[in-house]
Amino acid sequence: MDRVLDAAPGSKVLLLGNEAIARGALEAGIAVATTYPGTPASEIGDTLARVAKDAGIYFEYSTNEMVATEFAIGAAASGVRALVSMKHVGLNVAADALLTFAYTGTRGGFVLVTADDPSCHSSQNEQDNRYYALLGGIPLLEPSSPQECYQMTKEAFALSEKLELPVILRTTTRVSHVRGPVVVGEIVSGPKKKDFVKDPKRFVTVPAVARARHLILLERLREASKLADGSALNRVYKIGTGGRSGIITSSAAFNYVMDAAKVLGMSTDVLKLGFSHPLPTRLIAEFLRTHDSVAVVEELEPILETSIRAVAQHEGLKTKILGKADGAFPQAYEFDQAIVASGLVKAFGLRGEIAKTVSVDLQNLPVRPPVLCAGCPHSATYYAVNKATNRKAIFASDIGCYTLGVAPPYSAADLLVCMGSSVGTAGGLAKVNDQPVIAFIGDSTFFHAGIPGLINAVHHGHKFLLMILDNRTTAMTGHQPHPGSDKGPSCCDITSVSIEEVVKGCGVKWLKVVDPYDIKTTTDTVKQALTQNGVSVIIARRECALITKRDQKGAILKKQYIDQEVCKKCRTCVDKFQCPAISSVDKVQTIDDASCAGCGACAQVCPYKAIKEAR
């Protein structure tokens, strides 16, 4: 029984926010769903990939978020319902498609989920994607809990069809990755096929069409604002007996407000905005009119705060508005109950007692940041590259597990901005630096955004080495397939695209494929590549060790141990190589048998041949 697909109508099930979104989409009768995996959005796609066949929908892990969005646009413009999900930075990639789709509008319901990541738990920035709703003129719904994730996904589809506009459903890490009870409804199968009715004066955005469509978009937004005013998703929660002070909030911040207000013993009104763009201006004006001071509590950018100040100015209201502008609430990082409680105390001048945090000196505790796993092929690759270059190279890195190579002992990342940036930035680095430049990119990331950069490098004769770290999966986000994979989601047959053929097709003349577990060959190949003119490419291919372990293919690998009689305690295996299975305690290096993945890389690293196969 599948928890998401088979939950009976009316039953209460424990669902992750992302699973609740998937269930909501299934109940809304989607025909297609697409994604490119990214934390904290991944489980939306993973759930739909798993149930697609049984649910009778089409699902794909698209090459990137732009393609995922375009695919969904094609389906929705035809009249079926489509869901596309991504992490916040994925929307930067998809924005080109989305912002103009708001002009043409949609026929079938189109919902784009963006999962933001305040505090950068697993991201390169903490951008606030509510701005995309403002930028594109796109209605925005913001759930706070798994139950709302489920419910608002369904409402988003209805709203999208009513307004004929795409709708953004925006979550954050503490919404997508919260598990809670969800009372589900019935899964209704919607149409899976629709004939596309040609209407080029709407759907072909040449300038004349775009100009006309912009006015239609603005008209629809005025309509949307009225819907927001009357929406049940925007409602007041009375705490205690209410009062002359009020709070306006949305998303995860709402949860902290409710808990903090209770702890502080406040009596106040909380206006929760679930449908927050376009702003329900009449509702907000009324709330401001009936309160003397209003705190706006939102994570990251002061988007509501600024717009609410504008409403007050427009309505000529003197209500005191408190928020980030006065320093009551921070503009960086996610909130929690303590931050919100302290903000409310500051904003309203309360004399509430904020629970003191225990001060414990944990500074001397050994830190435990994420690391490359035991048996990770990237570890062997980085060791070989450092050996080949004597660390005299500039490393342009990219997004994936292999970014963890930034830490010592490899220090194998010098510049990283976004998906695919290794290839583009390597060209610029190489043009203005005399040191060798090596770009590292994962297989999934190469397909996602590396190819245009590679074509550019070939075309302009940029001189660098591109290493495609091919572990046969999208590892960091949970081992999703990519275009190079042999097996796709449950619904569909897929065709594996060869990285070698793509690289050659881009015009690369010097290409080698190595097994990173063979450190000597990898080292020699890197040395050779760096003597080439123009762009050279090495594909370092070895399956992710976690998959090898999971599928119990480990039988082909041999666990290692350190022969203490041979070991000279030189520490090469911990200072120049990095493996979580190898530790050095009290000057003795040992391999933990349970953690060892049996890759044998460490045995090649040991200068005294003290690391041996366990019998």
């Binding site: 209460k12 990755h177 809670g180 808990d259 109950q337 225990v358 940041p369 994420p370 911990v574």
Partner: protein, 197 residues
Amino acid sequence: MADIYLVGVGGQGIITASRIIGDAAILAGKNVLLSETHGMAQRGGSVMCTARIGDVYSPLIPDGQADVILSLELLEALRAVCKASKNTVVASSVEKMIPLSVSTQKLKYPTLEEVRREVTEIAGEFVSIEASKLAGEAGVPMSSNIVMVGALAGTGRTNLDRKHFEKAIEMNIARNVRENLAAFSKGFDAVSRRNQT
């Protein structure tokens, strides 16, 4: 209300443990919220999950407010004490996973007794559990996480019945259900009988 703070190292099965707690709460007809660590932090880093049983809106546990801290790894129990008070039971597996910083920065991994001493300066009680050994005895050596769910149930601080936990284990574990229930039972006994020995 019961606030449970679960900590460990990425890959130890902490999300499964928290999901079992969540399902047990729902089976008992209670509200529950869990928060989870996914993504980059899971690659062998410190990870935490929360389980809040009762009427709350936010899944995050404020400092000093955990009723139980459940740690799947010894050092991580100490790292979690900011969530503890004198009302807190800290139940930790004695399993040690030596972080790379111990090897590379020559930092010291604390002993069990050091952890016990430092934790009990803040927390009400520290209980150590040989989770890995008990899981092995139950026939599922990889199920330390299930032993620790048993340990949680054994504290009696969740207000959930043992049968709800057992049913939740059946809902979340696909293979070796009987052995996992035995692992749960061993963890339960290790904690509930702690003062009898």
